[in-house]
Subunit: 444 residues, 2 copies
């Protein structure tokens, strides 16, 4: 076993140091190249819908790389793919790390795949340098996160956490009418095909992912320590006024539904800015009827997406905004109705894991900051069942779900080095450090 | 000849007095019933597209009623229909009164038709009570004003005023590809079929029309004296920002094209209100791209319709607003482009005719106000060639272009009585009163 090297800035010993960054960069680039040979879309980027041919090829490529990295590879019945490094202490929960292999249509090379590559590279380095871990380490390529083919997200992680059961999948069908159950069977998965998806033996989950925002890039940081994943509410608001002649109706006699919608959209923006950085409110779609240049809009419809990491703050913001909207509608004599069609609670990450990530970043001399994830991730599903944490690496221009996604090999290597040292802390260091994980403390 | 009756409130003698309102109401109701038997639309209201079967039936009905009213009836080559009461003084210009018989799709009973009915009823009453006029009186059923079938408006009045020439019609086609020339020929009109449309013998035009707005109703008035018809500008504005993730992009890092569009639309509304009653600005249509609830809009497009009766005011308002829009785009780092695709100049009505209308209203004890027309009318085409004036009668709820249009028989009768007395002033009273009409003074 290679001797551990001293960690700069700390007295502690860690397997990955600045000297390993170049090697990690090369290894992750090679892994992403291998994954990137699967699912290239003629329209640009990558399309790997759950259980599709491109998806199957990608899982096979991951499987080959896990095997080459000395991990014992297996699928579960849902199609999640694992590369396992057995630990010496059977009774302690396994440490799981990885991300998702599926993509949106014409997605990028990094969203999901980068976390799988970092997981394989990190465990490989740990194994070579530190030998067998005390706790079992598993790299995972989760079968579905985006919900791009079927109208449900987190099928893979949900099956592991028990939110979903592959022997009784939801009645979801893709655009061509193929059900989730049929697609799963056609790809060779489903009840009885592989080991059960449900896991009760996992002690922790750590996921590396691209930020999907521009904060790290703007602030020239290496790493984001994710304190939690935001809650989301989505509405469709409908305003009804009176369609009327644009030339003959004086301004004072109008009940202009579109002007009312514009006032609400601007107010949502103003209020969100006033609530501070963690609050975002977005009106992404709007329409007016009859929609003619010379007719005052009698009806206007717009959507609103509001996100915040704290459940109470999210609730109070939405309550206040709704009241403001009612006031605007009343002052303009507009009928007003809001339909909330999404309400996802915030998912705080595990406090002690976050500290471990920060310590790893500090030990490597990385520039990091605490932040919240404004997008959904598998970690939010796992966080309800066992301690979960996430590391964000910068994403060029904050892009994601785009063929233009880019994170440099050096940026990926810094993240992977931090991941490697977090995994070392969890799987190799003395047990007393891990006490209390079973009743894990989430970030509040 | 029946003895003229004294006009209440004035020493003047006029043919129509309060005692005639009931008779006029009955006559106009009967005429509208006759016209209303043509072009009923299964979807509601009336659809009488230029040269269609329904339109031809309607002109035949008007022709029968003009004939029954003792007028000599003829068409011109464009399809305009006239009912003529010959005057004793051939050298003086004819006095033309009437409106249009065509409708929008599923239009109402009154928009256009009410002015034709009032014209026939008024000339009929004048003839019976005052005999032959000095100046020739003609009721007219103009063949086209709305531009509903072909993408051009004012074909009928434009042919009379020389803006258009039926022997060289514009290359316009309807939705089924039939050209204006083909449709005209198929309906039995066009060069050589009837007398030439171009007229140089008209001395004045007076049109009664429903208001198409709610001002008269709101202010409980009988009559609107139209000082002019507004100018119109229409634009399509396009804003480009950056489409981005609604959850991961902090408010401060956004370039939200839709939020920018909303700010502009509200500013247009605010500025128009500040400019006073005669100014209207309307954003009737808006769209955002990609138009997804969870994606910040990278592009937004909206239309703006601005109208005002004074050319200079309209110009300066539009210039100021454009500058404000540029400022909003700059402050939000949005690309901004505005395409103006309509620019119609204001058309002032003839000042001396307006005075005659006001005197007639006063003489009948009607409650009237001066106002501008926010909608286009044939009178704006005529006003460039000879003195033109318009009388508005109230329209229930300000509706027009709707099956719900309604103006009561009593309201129509009051307007027709005023029209009758204006026609008397123009066609029967002594010539010196008419001096200077040939170089008519428009309202400034």
């Amino acid at each position: 076993m290679a001797k551990l090297q001293p960690q700069e800035g700390t007295g502690a010993w860690r397997p990955a140091g600045p000297g390993d960054l170049q090697e990690l960069a090369g290894r992750i680039t090679a892994l992403l190249d291998a994954f990137g040979r699967c699912g290239a879309d003629p329209d640009g980027g990558y399309t790997r819908y759950l259980y599709s041919g491109a998806w199957q090829e990608a899982q096979c490529a991951v499987s080959r790389e896990m095997d080459a990295a000395g991990l014992s590879v297996y699928y579960d019945e849902a199609g999640n793919l694992f590369g396992r490094l057995e630990g010496s202490s059977a009774e302690e929960g396994a440490v799981l790390t990885g991300s998702h292999i599926d993509t949106v249509r014409c997605g990028g090379l990094y969203d999901g795949a980068a976390g799988i590559a970092a997981a394989v590279a990190a465990i490989e380095l740990l194994h070579r340098r530190c030998g067998q871990p005390r706790r079992t380490l598993e790299a995972v390529s989760l079968c579905e996160e985006e919900g791009s083919r079927f109208p449900l997200t987190f099928w893979g992680s949900g099956s592991i956490a028990g939110r979903y059961a592959p022997d009784a999948p939801p009645e979801a069908a893709d655009r061509s009418g193929v059900t989730l159950a049929e697609a799963m069977k056609a790809a060779g998965f489903g009840p009885g095909t592989h080991r059960s998806a449900r896991r009760t033996d996992i002690g922790a989950f750590v996921e590396l992912h691209i930020e999907q925002g521009a904060v790290l890039e703007q602030e020239r940081l290496d790493l984001g320590v994710v304190l939690g994943i935001v809650g989301q509410r989505r509405w469709t608001f409908t305003l009804r006024g009176e369609a009327n002649h644009a030339g003959t109706t004086p301004m004072r006699l109008r009940r202009d539904a579109l002007a009312g919608a514009c006032e609400m959209i601007l107010e949502a923006e103003r209020q969100a800015c006033a609530y501070g950085e963690a609050m975002v409110a977005t009106a992404g779609s709007v329409s007016a009827a009859p929609g003619l240049s010379n007719v005052i809009a009698g009806q206007a419809v717009f959507t609103l997406d509001v996100r915040h990491p704290d459940a109470e703050t999210l609730q109070s913001f939405c309550d206040e905004l709704y009241g403001i909207f009612e006031g605007i509608a009343a002052s303009r004599e507009l009928e007003f109705a809001g339909e909330q069609w999404m309400n996802v609670l915030p998912a705080p990450m595990d406090a002690r894991l976050c500290e471990a990530v920060e310590a790893a970043a500090k030990g490597l001399g990385l520039r990091s900051r605490r932040m919240y994830s404004g997008a959904g991730h598998d970690a939010q599903v796992f966080s309800g069942s066992f301690p979960a944490a996430m590391l964000f690496v910068p994403s060029s221009k904050g892009l994601s779900h785009s063929p233009e996604e880019y994170t440099s090999p050096e940026q990926l290597a810094r993240g992977a080095a931090a991941l490697c040292n977090v995994l070392y802390t969890l799987a190799y260091e003395e047990e007393e450090k891990e006490k209390g994980d079973s009743q894990h403390e989430n970030v509040r």
